[in-house]
Every structure is written in structure tokens, then in C-alpha cells.
């Protein structure tokens, strides 16, 4: 029959169009087929340094892999000899001529077992780049010597050849690994996440407190010790302050703390039964928050210490989760029940030009600006029952929902963008309890960052 034959190509074309639409977010991740391939063998350390190489190699691999820039060649395909410095490489030897009188004998392809650059550039490894080096302790300092070779240019392969220094312990080994990875990624437009932090709340001590950790889940440390319920952290653009909501004084109120040292900077809470959901403006000088002053709840703007507060939104319904555009500082998104079920809205900083961004189906919440000030990630129940949240990305100007990042693996909420604009952190109940995960903004490379207690409401900042 003629019809099915016509229909099928139309379907296929349509499907491809849909798929193409799904991945046309310009977040800088390169599709897998086009990524340069990198070989990243484990480095070894001499003497005292060897004890810390497990942490070092795990960090280096995770950073490079997580950047979403390279195709990682599995270590199982590597040759047995791993060079540690440029002088370890030997020029390839020409194959011996076939012995006379044995025309049928097959000779094995010549191989340097890893000593030749082509060992790494040809099958089974087939890498474009090779990172190698070693560590040692010198004068009480951990020294990393690291190189990146472009295997397609064997005459002049070195792209990076650098020395990194750290303390002689696991922290030091992770530090130098982070720095080496950062240099590798920077060559390909990747921004290192090393030095960035995730702020969240955790109940592992028996009470919900504000915690922070490195972007890879390491160095988890408790910031508040209120033995109360402390939630909803936000971090200042320079990473020096954290704001949050706490019940420690009775009713929920806002606190602003410096991070280092951890100190209460004394935010003035206006008289209200609830002040909550604080967020910093991009210049770090003001706070937006939600308050029940008058009637629950409106968005307010105030100085960093809480003085000079004034409402931005009008009295109508529950307005909360204000997030100021990090690029322009002149508008904000927030969630509101003003049209019934919770939805995501946008308005100018003076309250003008209010518009609903989400289409009204299901419930939408947790809007989070991309660093470029054009996209938001948010949580939405569309397609699922009430309370079954998933994470989506929307273009604010067009209101177009570009992609769905999670698909019912537990409840997925509270997305927050990494400073590199390529990663997100979020909380998920996919493993039972609520835990914090990171992923690429195309939904891949999901990594679990927390394991102890219930952990939720992460925010990625400096």
C-alpha cells in the first residue's frame, strides 16, 4: 500500500525534528560523536606521594569526565607501559622485513607497548589526547608534574607541561588534580568547577541545618548549629555570605551569615509571621525574600541587613522563591499561587510587567536562572500526579520549554545551575531518601553527591 510508505518517512522526519529540538540548548556541551578522545591513565607517585594517588586519580578522572568535553577512553584498553614524563617516549621502530621463504607468515603489527605515541593514537586506544605525569614530595611539598599531548601532532605534541604544588595529604593531592584538570578543560572552553561550592540543608545531625560542600561532594561541612529547622540557603555572588530561613527564634525568619568565618551578620526581620526564601541580588547588596507581612505572602526587597524593606509584588496570593536575574539584575522570577495551582512568573524589579511563564498545567516551582540570564531550570509536575516533580529547562523570552531532564525517577526538585552554565545540581528521592545529585544540562552524567541523612534544596555558587 502506498500510504504507509509515505507516512513512515514523514514520521521519521518528524521524530528527528523533535529530537533535534530537544537538544538545541546552547549550553556548550558537544554531542558525543564530535568530542575529542582523551586517554587519562592513572598517575603514580614516588615515595610518600603514592599514598595519595588514589584520591588524585579519582579526582582527575571525575573532573575531566564531568566537564562533558571529552570522550573518555576506558583504562582497560591502555597499553601496559604508561609514560611518566616526555623522556619516557621512544621513537617507533620500523618493522623488520618479512623473512624470505615464508610468504604466508603474518607478522604482528609492531607496537611499543606504550612507549610510542602511536600506541596511544591507534586502536584499541585511538585517543586524540594523552594526559600523563607523576607526583613526588620535595622539601615537604607535594609536586605534580603534568603534561597534555596532542597525539595528532607527534612532531610537537606538548600542549600543557606544568608543575603544580600542594600539601602532602589527600587534600593537597585533590587540589593539584583539580588544577591540572582545570588547565586541560580551559583549552577546550570548559570552565573548571574547582573551587565552587554547593550549599544545602541536611538533617543528618537530627535537625535540619545549613551545610556546604565542594562541587564534587567532598568536604561536607556544617555551617549552622541551631538545633532547630534551618532551610532555604542562598549564596552571595562572591561566595562570602549565605542567607537562609530558620525557626531558631520561633517563627521562620531570615538570617545572613558570613561563610568564613561563620558569623551571624544580623538581618533585620520585619514583623511578620513568616519571612522566608531569601536570595541575593547580583551586586550582592540587596536581598529579595517572601514575607507574610500584611497577608501571606508578597515578595519584598531590602538592604543586605534587612533595612529599607518594601514590597515588590501585590497582595494577592502566596508569592515566594524570588530569584533575581544574575545577568541583568533588573528582573526576577518567582513562584505564585495567584492563578490557582503554583506556577512560575517573571516581573521587573519594581513589580511592573508581570507575566506568567508556565502554561498553567500541573504545578510549577523552584525557578533557577542560568548564568546567562536567558534560561531557567524549574520543577514541574506536568504529565505526573501532584507532588511528582521533574526538572525542565525553559527559555524565558519565548516561554518555550526546551527539555525535560528527569522522567519520574523519584521526585526531582530544586535545580540550581553551576557557574559554568553546563551543570545542574538538584535533589532527588530516586534512591529512597532525598539526596543531592549533579548532572549535565542534557540530563546525562548524573552523580550522587550526598548519602547521609536527608539532603535537599541545593544551591551552586562560589
Amino acid at each position: 500500500m502506498k500510504f504507509p510508505r509515505l507516512i513512515f518517512p514523514a514520521f521519521a522526519a518528524g521524530a528527528m525534528l523533535l529530537l533535534a529540538q530537544q537538544s538545541t540548548i546552547d549550553i556548550g556541551t558537544i554531542t558525543k560523536g564530535e568530542r575529542p578522545a582523551i586517554a587519562l591513565p592513572d598517575l603514580r607517585g614516588s615515595g610518600e606521594a603514592q599514598a595519595f594517588m588514589g584520591a588524585f586519580n579519582q579526582t582527575l578522572w571525575a573532573d575531566i569526565n564531568g566537564a562533558g568535553i571529552f570522550k573518555m577512553i576506558p583504562k582497560t584498553s591502555y597499553p601496559t607501559f604508561v609514560p611518566q614524563q616526555p623522556s619516557d617516549f621512544q621513537p617507533p621502530v620500523a618493522p623488520a622485513p618479512a623473512p624470505r621463504g615464508r610468504p604466508n607468515q603474518m607478522t604482528a603489527a609492531p607496537s611499543g607497548g606504550g612507549r610510542w605515541m602511536q600506541d596511544w593514537a591507534t586502536p584499541p586506544v585511538s585517543a586524540n589526547y594523552l594526559a600523563f605525569g607523576y607526583t613526588a614530595v620535595q622539601n615537604g611539598v607535594l609536586v605534580l608534574r603534568g603534561w597534555l599531548y596532542d597525539l595528532r601532532n607527534p612532531a610537537s605534541p606538548q600542549v600543557i607541561g606544568k608543575t603544580y604544588l600542594g600539601s602532602v595529604d589527600e587534600n593537597g593531592s585533590r587540589k593539584v588534580a583539580h588544577e591540572f584538570a582545570a588547565d586541560i578543560m580551559a583549552l577546550f572552553g570548559g570552565q573548571s568547577l574547582a573551587g565552587t561550592h554547593i550549599y544545602f540543608n541536611s538533617d543528618r545531625t537530627g535537625h535540619k541545618e545549613i551545610w556546604m560542600m565542594d562541587y564534587d561532594g567532598k568536604n561536607q561541612r556544617q555551617l549552622t548549629h541551631f538545633n532547630s529547622t534551618s532551610i532555604e540557603p542562598a549564596v552571595s555572588p562572591d561566595g562570602s555570605k549565605v542567607a537562609f530561613t530558620s525557626y531558631v527564634h520561633g517563627n521562620p525568619g531570615i538570617f545572613v551569615f558570613s561563610v568564613d568565618p561563620v558569623r551571624d551578620l544580623r538581618f533585620y526581620n520585619q514583623s511578620a509571621s513568616v519571612n522566608s526564601s531569601p536570595w541575593f541580588t547580583p551586586d550582592g547588596k540587596q536581598i529579595v525574600y517572601s514575607s507574610s507581612a500584611g497577608r501571606c505572602c508578597r515578595i519584598f526587597l531590602s538592604d543586605l541587613n534587612g533595612s529599607g524593606f518594601r514590597p515588590i509584588s501585590s497582595l494577592s496570593s502566596i508569592d515566594t522563591e524570588p530569584k533575581v536575574n544574575p545577568k541583568t539584575g533588573s528582573d526576577l522570577v518567582f513562584s505564585s499561587g495567584r492563578s490557582g495551582p503554583e506556577q512560575v512568573y517573571r516581573m521587573n524589579m519594581d513589580g511592573a510587567d508581570l507575566e506568567r511563564l508556565t502554561d498553567g498545567t500541573g504545578e510549577a516551582a523552584n525557578p533557577a536562572w542560568h548564568p546567562d540570564g536567558q534560561l531557567i531550570a524549574f520543577a514541574w509536575t506536568r504529565g505526573f500526579s501532584a507532588g511528582a516533580w521533574n526538572i525542565f529547562i525553559m527559555d524565558v523570552a519565548s516561554h518555550r520549554v526546551m527539555t525535560q531532564l528527569t522522567h519520574g525517577e523519584g521526585r526531582n526538585e530544586h535545580p540550581s545551575w553551576a557557574p559554568d552554565g553546563k551543570h545542574l545540581v538538584f535533589s532527588s528521592t530516586r534512591g529512597g531518601r532525598s539526596q543531592i545529585y549533579s548532572m549535565l544540562a542534557d540530563g546525562h552524567e548524573v552523580q550522587q553527591l550526598t548519602t547521609v541523612g536527608h539532603n535537599e534544596r541545593p544551591v551552586w555558587g562560589k
Binding site: S277, G340, G387, E413
Partner: protein, 263 residues
Amino acid sequence: MFDKRKLMALCMAASLAMFAAGCKKKTPPPPPPPPPAPTETRPEPAKPAAPTVAQFSAEPTTIQRGQSATIRWEVSGNVTSVSIDNAIGTVQNTGNRRVFPTDSTTYTLTASGPGGSTTASATITVTAPPPPPPPPTTKPAGTVEQRLNTEVQDVYFDYDKSDVGGEARDVLTRDAGAIKSILADFPNASIVVEGHCDERGSAEYNLGLGDRRANSAKEFLTQLGVPADRLKTISYGKERPQCTEATEACWQKNRRAHFSPGQ
């Protein structure tokens, strides 16, 4: 009036007596003195009887202190005065009087007349009233928290709603009475109206929804006369669930306003 017969009999008797006295010398005896005037014993004029007390009674005969009784009397016969003691004084022959004796009292009525006096008495027994029940102890039965737990019920809301409807109105109306009583017994106490939500909405939004629920319940109570300055509100959003199952039954239990003691 002289009785003629009697007179004749007397004359005859006198004559006989003279004759019999002797017929001696007939000196003409001195004429007999005229017979003494006959002393007539006039009958005592029917001496009048003393008054009759036909009735002298009290009704009722036993009263409690503070109550009254009525004494009634009726005196007949030849009466000139009737009086009753115990400060009642002179009264008419017939009558009644309401009295308020504070202790058991015997009333004596004295009726006087030409024939004498008659007395009668009536006794009213006054009993002390039963003692009142002991005054309510100022120490109430239970702490504020205990009384809230037993006397004041949680009130429930629909999904994403904070209005007090239907059954919730009945519950809150009953709660208002109990709350007023608790606040009266504990003049320094305040009560906290807590607002809670089920797990499904986002945490930030639920902090606001819980606040709306707490205020909605508080407004209803103050309209029924609960003093507003004795009620505080707090929202716990979905931070303090009663239960954690993902079922409608559990979700409904969490969509509530709850009452707890203020600090």
C-alpha cells in the same frame, strides 16, 4: 317583783310562828316588823367565755433559713384584742402574716376578751440550707497542653486551600468554646495556631500555605469571641508531618491547623 305566792307563804309562816310562840298574855304583841326585804340572788350574768382560737397555724412548718412561712389565725368569740409575739404585735381577729424567721421560732397568739385570754402557739422550724458546693478550685484539671490535646481538635483543609469550610466550621466552633475556657483558666497563657501542609507542594510554597491556614483558623476563632491577642500563628509548611505515607489519608491528616501552648 314580789312573787305573790311567795308572799302568802311567808305571811302564813309568820302567823304560825306568832301563834306558836305562845298565847300568853294577850298583850298585843308588838306589831311584827315588816318582813325583811327578800334578798333576791340575782344569777351571775352568764359570765362571757374567753375567745376561741379557731386556728393558729404556720405553713410550712419547716423552712430553710432565708425562706418564709405564713402564719394564719382565726379568733372567734368575745375578743377585744389579739396579738402575736415575736414583734408581730396586735392583729385583727383573723388574718395571716408572712414571716421570715432566721431561727426556729414559736409564735404565741394571745386573744383577750372579757371572758379572759386564750393563747395558742405555732412553731416554725428553721433549718440551715445545705451547704453550697465547694467553690471551683482555681487549679484547673490539667496543663494547657493536656487540655488542648483532649478538648481542642485539629481542623482540616482541602488541597492547596486555606478556607474554613463545612465540617471545619463545626470543629472550630466547638474548639472556640474549649479555647475560651482554657484561656479563662490560664490568664497568662497564649495558644499557638499552627498551619501544616501535605508533602506534595513545594516546600517554599507550603510555608506560605501553612501560614494562610493558621490565619484562617485564627480569624474564625476571633469572630466567635476568642481574644485575638491570646492567639499566635506559625506555619510549619511541610516540615512537621504527622505521617509520611504517600496516601490521600495521610495527606489529609497533614493538611491541618493544630493548636499548641504558647511560650
